[in-house]
C-alpha cells in the first residue's frame, strides 16, 4: 500500500515538473518580442497553407458558411 502511495506521489511530481516546464517555456516565449517583419498575426495576409482550421486562414469563415 505505501508503495502505491509513493508511486502516485512520484507520478504527480513528475507531471508537475513537466507542466511547470511547459508553463515556464510558454511565459518566457510570450515575453520575447517577435523580430521585425514577423507580424503575421496582425497583417492577416497569411497564405502559407491550406489548413482550414488555422485562425490565420482567410477562407476559414467562408468554408464554415458552405
Amino acid at each position: 500500500m505505501p508503495e502505491l502511495v509513493i508511486k502516485t506521489l512520484l507520478a504527480i511530481a513528475v507531471l508537475a515538473v513537466l507542466v511547470g516546464l511547459f508553463i515556464l517555456g510558454y511565459l518566457l516565449n510570450k515575453k520575447v518580442p517577435r523580430p521585425e517583419g514577423c507580424d503575421l498575426e496582425k497583417t492577416d495576409q497569411c497564405s502559407q497553407c491550406a489548413i482550414s482550421t488555422c485562425r490565420l486562414n482567410q477562407n476559414r469563415d467562408k468554408d464554415k458558411g458552405d
Binding site: L28, N29, V32, A50
Partner: protein, 191 residues
C-alpha cells in the same frame, strides 16, 4: 536490425506519410509551394530529432527507474510542447532570420503526430541511443522527401492549369497522394 536497413526501412519502405498515414495534415496543407515544403520539412527534422532524444532521456533516466512507464504518453506530449516553446523563443531571440522563415511552422509542428509517434516508437521498439538517433532522422527525412516530391508535382500541375474544375484543389491533391502511395508500395520487400 542494421543501421542501413533501418534507414531504408524508415525512409522508403515504411514511409511515415504514404505508408503509415501519419502527418497527413501538414503534408496536404503545406505543399503548395516548394519553399514552404522545404521549410516545414527541415523544421520537422529538427524538432523530431531533439524531441526524440529528450523523450528517450526522460524515459530511461526518470520514468523507467521510478517505475512510471505508464506516464510515457502524457510526459512525451509535454516534453514536445515545451521543447517547441523553447525553440521558438531561442529562434526569436538569437536567429531572427531563421525564425522569419520557419517561425510560422513551429507551432504547427507541435500538433504533428509524427513527432509523438517517433518518440513512442523509439521506446516501444527498445531502440538504443544510436538507433533512436538514426530512426528519428530517417523518418523525418522520409517526411521531407515526400513533402518535396508532392509539392513539386502540385506546383507543376497548378502551372499547367489543365485540371478539370471538379478535380481542382483537395481532390487532385488526394489523387496525387494515392498515386504516390502506390509508387512507394513498390519499395515493399526491399529490406
Amino acid at each position: 536490425m542494421g543501421i542501413v536497413t533501418l534507414i531504408i526501412s524508415a525512409m522508403l519502405v515504411s514511409n511515415v506519410v504514404l505508408v503509415r498515414f501519419l502527418g497527413t495534415c501538414p503534408f496536404l496543407g503545406v505543399s503548395k509551394k516548394i519553399s514552404n515544403a522545404i521549410g516545414l520539412g527541415l523544421a520537422t527534422i529538427f524538432v523530431v530529432f531533439f524531441s526524440s532524444l529528450l523523450s528517450y532521456g526522460l524515459y530511461h533516466l526518470v520514468l523507467k527507474p521510478l517505475g512510471l512507464e505508464f506516464l510515457s504518453l502524457v510526459s512525451f506530449i509535454l516534453i514536445i510542447a515545451s521543447f517547441v516553446q523553447f525553440v521558438e523563443m531561442f529562434l526569436k531571440k538569437y536567429i531572427p532570420s531563421l525564425y522569419r522563415s520557419l517561425g510560422i511552422y513551429l507551432p504547427l509542428i507541435t500538433t504533428n503526430c509524427i513527432v509523438l509517434a517517433i518518440a513512442l516508437e523509439n521506446i516501444g521498439n527498445n531502440y538504443s541511443l544510436v538507433e533512436t538517433i538514426v530512426y528519428s532522422l530517417s523518418v523525418s527525412a522520409g517526411f521531407l522527401l515526400v513533402l518535396i516530391l508532392f509539392s513539386v508535382i502540385r506546383e507543376r500541375i497548378d502551372s499547367l492549369n489543365r485540371v478539370p474544375q471538379a478535380f481542382k484543389g483537395v481532390a487532385i491533391a488526394l489523387i496525387i497522394t494515392a498515386l504516390m502511395t502506390m509508387a512507394f508500395f513498390g519499395f515493399q520487400g526491399l529490406v
